[in-house]
Subunit: 356 residues, 2 copies
């Protein structure tokens, strides 16, 4: 287990992308049989990935989606439309291949790693895709104290790093997606955004899985009380995670940092995953260079998150499911970008005349 | 060859979608292990496709992209950044698997059918994916007369229908994409839009493959003169095609009508493909029910086209290449929608509690 001191060391190992490789990718793109720039975002993505991976013509072989689960004490405030028992039920659904992320990861040719970071139930799962890294049985209710201890916050991040590193050792990962499951977790995600952005809470809180008007009022109130009671330091990612975050969110911070450290592009999923990205940015702003925004979630406040990260979403399909579903879909687009760079003919090789 | 009289008969055979199947698909979606509606556009797409295919749980097995080539007499007016010889060169590139559409169709698992509808060069191609349906060696320059005869316009549409029907007979097609190649063909596409929309030509003409400011002025002038000289009837799709269209555009009108007639969803690609969709709509407005807008092209005026068709693009990636590249990319999203419907567990089957 990585301790606080080691985490600081680990963070120092994250290096800036090398744009010289992106430049080489662009030079090749300009020689391919199409008008320059005519593949728009696909061309930009290939350039970014070349810079991240430090390869002029990168390839994407192994793709992995990390879907982490955790529970939230704040559900006691009536902030979610679904009961807490759904968190473990959905973990079993992931293991049995019945969830949306299973379908979409299979289509994308991506492996899935499911991990329990803090589900409030005993899971009895022995499966190659499952990692038991339970830190606690759900967070504390942050309306009357911190969600977790500072030690637990660090532990959740290091668990994520370790899960990523272990998987990357097993087989080099070329593209990562983040995902999560945790009843109530749009509430901590919105709280994280509220602390970091300083926005009015009413403007950035959405309906999550579909809470009604009364629930929305309770949710806004819970976030306000949580921030008031805990006073998180908006410049300290670990402090925010500890006071109003969640274990699965901390785990995803670790996955994002692990990807950045290993120069692997990471597709950030929706509202909760992006709250983890905001925390990763506070821990080391260089990590943002390895992030790709997979989609614009339908959850209110997600646009604000992407604005802070200065990321343009690849897809905009009105989705708000989480689990990594947006990341899985965006993998097709990222892979298309890289395939274009690898597989298209040049004007010279195809004997096609270029622009007059 | 289908004559005018037969085309009228063929058009009568296009039947409305059956929304009762979409309703059944929606009922199933609402029982799947996710909050209702949380997969946004994916859920809508699966519903639309169920209605088109008249199956409550449709599947997508065979996907085909039809990429049609043709040349344009109007290039004599200096409206394109590339020389006309690029049209046949790119057809050879398609056959040799070097073009963007080859890469993206392969990734999407789609077959490609390339056809010569009116390339201004002799092509000597014997390849299973190639169809020689040349109607003429390029259209006439529409600034001083019609692009083609009315007979040729009908012939190009019937050729598209026949190519589609032949392919559909070989193996049932579940999802179609349209695509094209033809130096100068954003000019006829913009002319078609100008006639149908009545918009100011300056507002809907773009730079195509990347023409400079002077070229843009020439292009606008050519379209103005073409419309003035030919006076196309804005309610007669064949008249518009004849006077300011192109052979490959007519062929794509045929593919779209063929798809609609056979209840096969058709992903309309970018600016030129959508001009064909506008003509198909004039020939039979019911055909619009089978169209899906794959993406929003970066070519100016495409948004206006989608507005007329009342279609929301699936992707928005700043692309403007044509060939069917947007359609190929959108196939992943459409397939995801249908897979979700087929493969996800229900709340009952997975033992997951539903909303409180």
């Amino acid at each position: 287990m990585i301790e606080m001191i080691d985490l600081k060391d680990y963070l120092k190992g994250i290096e800036s992308v090398e744009t010289v490789y992106g430049q080489k990718a662009k030079e090749r793109e300009d020689r391919l049989t199409k008008p320059r720039g005519s593949l728009g975002r696909l061309e930009e993505l290939a350039i970014e990935i070349a810079s991240m991976k430090r390869e002029a013509i990168p390839r994407i072989n192994r793709k992995v989606i990390f879907t982490f689960a955790g529970d939230h004490g704040v559900v006691a405030e009536g902030v979610s439309a679904f009961p807490q028992e759904v968190t473990p039920q959905m973990v079993y659904n992931f293991i049995n291949n019945g969830a949306a992320i299973n379908v979409l990861a299979r289509q994308a040719g991506a492996d899935i790693v499911i991990a329990d970071l803090g589900v409030a139930a005993d899971l009895n799962i022995d499966h190659p895709n499952f990692r038991d890294r339970k830190i606690n049985r759900g967070t504390g209710n942050f309306t009357n104290g911190p969600a977790m201890t500072r030690e637990e916050a660090v532990k959740s991040i290091s668990a994520g790093i370790e899960i990523f590193e272990e998987e990357h050792r097993k087989g080099k990962i070329d593209l990562v997606g983040t995902g999560e499951m945790g009843i109530g977790n749009t509430t901590p995600a919105a709280a994280i955004l509220a602390v970091i952005s300083g926005e009015n809470i009413e403007n950035i809180v959405g309906r999550g899985t579909g809470i009604d008007d009364d629930g929305l009022i309770r949710k806004i109130s819970a976030i306000k009380r949580g921030i008031e009671c805990n006073q998180p330091d908006k410049n300290d990612g670990i402090d925010i995670l500890q006071k109003v975050g969640g274990y699965e969110i901390g785990g995803l911070v670790g996955v994002i940092l692990g990807a950045a450290r290993n120069r692997v592009p990471v597709l950030i999923d929706g509202f909760i995953s992006t709250s983890a990205a905001l925390l990763a940015r506070l821990l080391n702003p260089v990590s943002v260079q390895y992030m790709l925004a997979s989609h614009l979630s339908d959850e209110r406040g997600h646009g604000k998150m992407l604005e802070i990260l200065n990321k343009k979403p690849i897809l905009d399909l009105g989705m708000r499911l989480g689990e990594g579903t947006g990341a899985a879909l965006a993998m097709h687009i990222v892979e298309a970008a890289v395939r274009i760079l690898n597989e298209m003919a040049t004007f010279e090789s195809a004997g096609v005349s270029s622009k007059e």
